[in-house]
Amino acid sequence: MRMMAIAFQETAADCNVRRKEGGLAFRPDDPDELEAAVLACARGERSGLRVIFDRESGRLVAVAQRIVRRRELAEEVVQEAFIRIWTHAHQYSRERGSARGWIYAIVRNRALNLLRDGGREEAVDDIEALQDRDHANEVMAAWQMLDRDSRLRECLDGLEETRRSGILMAYVGGYTHGEIAGRLRLPLGTTKSWIRRGLSALRECMS
């Protein structure tokens, strides 16, 4: 995990380069392709699922791994998520947001379920728990890696630090209110209301 954190910093540096030359590779400007792929899944066409896999699986594994930490668990999460994408594609519609957002939400939910079932608390004596600090660094790095001129970056920058940390710990690291309270050394009730106020400020800033 420490190695991963280091690798993470390095990719932060070349992120913009990647974005420029990698434009063709993942076509961020072509959301319709993913939507068409999800609709193909709903019709039972496997080629649709394969398109989603080719375009997003690497990043989905990375997202899952940031939450569950272990690579093999992350792959398991993504595997289960793809089955769910396949069986639930008929539920997708535009009013549920972008196809990409819908796909990522499925992976995030699987990863969080796995964490909550396995219980990060139970792993407290585990070796993995020792890597907590590395994980915290990685969580904060996610914010610093955002495009400087992105709206989310700008609005997160504007938040008071504790609120920003709480929000990032939840979204990026998959921490619960209780875990965040512990790490920020704040009472649970205070933590909840700080995060809630932070989210409200973020909504206002981004609207």
């Binding site: 190695m3 990719t11 992120c15 699922l49 394969r50 896999f53 699986s57 690497g58 990043r59 594994v61 990375a62 997202v63 272990r70 690579r71 093999e72 792959e75 993504v78 595997q79 289960e80 793809f82 089955i83 069986t87 639930h88 009013e95 549920r96 947001g97 972008s98 990409r100 957002g101 819908w102 990522y104 939400a105 995030r108 939910n109 969080l112 379920n113 909550r116 396995g118 139970e122 004596d125 585990d126 070796i127 020792l130 890597q131 996610a142 890696m145 955002l146 992105s150 989310l152 929000i167 990032l168 939840a170 979204y171 990026v172 998959g174 995060i195 809630r196 989210l199 409200s200 909504r203």
Partner: protein, 232 residues
């Protein structure tokens, strides 16, 4: 959950961030189906936070993952698998393993102490189980920087990999490597000088690259793990 627009937006954000407990999240799932305002709020919230995911550098994924997905797809027209909860339960395998580890340890410890005879006795014995709860290995830690690792199951160790033995003497010290195994063979390891092993100390086997983890921390998949029992 009821209340004004602000409450709906707040609920949607907390849902998307994963901050709701299982019951609250399930309630949102149900409400989304008939509550257009909540549905729109969740969609907007997802889009707001999505850049934190999509800016991530992709992991290298091989085709094995695709083959596993394909092998598990229900055929067209088949009912979606009802097995989702079973999958989730599978994750609690380690917890189950930990429970059965306790019983197994007592039995094995008794047997080992007897079979090891009256030579030097280990301070602690840990029975290491895999995720399915099957006994894979036994570690006897003698507390004088030596530990015996007996493999009770044949592991497949690829040429570029090695099995590394770890223990967690304390949270302060962090995980410490006791050494590497030669292929899939039992060994007596001369490890670093550590405090005397404790009851309930964690021992773990991971599969690392040949030569062992370069970070000094376990990074590969866990093959087996278990907690120590004091011999006396």
């Amino acid at each position: 959950m009821t209340g004004g627009r602000e409450d709906v937006l707040s609920l949607a954000d907390e849902y998307v961030l994963g901050l709701l407990d299982a019951g609250e999240a399930a309630a949102v799932d149900a409400r989304i189906e008939h509550d257009a305002a909540l549905r729109a709020a969740v969609a907007a919230s997802r889009e707001r936070f999505l850049p934190l995911d999509t800016q991530l550098a992709p992991a290298a994924v091989d085709d094995g993952l695709w083959r596993r997905i394909e092998a598990n797809l229900p055929a067209r027209g088949e009912a979606p698998p009802v097995a989702a909860p079973a999958n989730d339960n599978r994750r609690s395998g380690w917890r189950l393993a930990a429970l059965s580890s306790f019983a197994a340890t007592l039995l094995l410890a008794a047997g080992l102490v007897w079979s090891l005879g009256r030579t030097v006795e280990p301070v602690v014995i840990a029975v290491l189980l895999n995720e399915a709860g099957e006994v894979q290995a036994v570690v006897e830690d003698f507390g004088n920087d030596t530990a015996n690792v007996r493999l009770l199951s044949a592991f497949e160790v690829p040429a570029d990999k090695t099995i590394q033995v770890w223990t967690l003497p304390s949270r302060e010290l962090g995980p410490v490597s006791l050494g590497l195994l030669d292929g899939s063979r039992s060994a007596r390891l001369e490890g670093p000088t550590l405090p005397d092993p404790n009851e309930d100390q964690l021992y773990e086997l991971t599969l690392e690259q040949a030569g062992g983890s370069t970070s000094g921390r376990p990074t590969g998949p866990i093959l087996a793990k278990g907690f120590a029992k004091a011999v006396h």
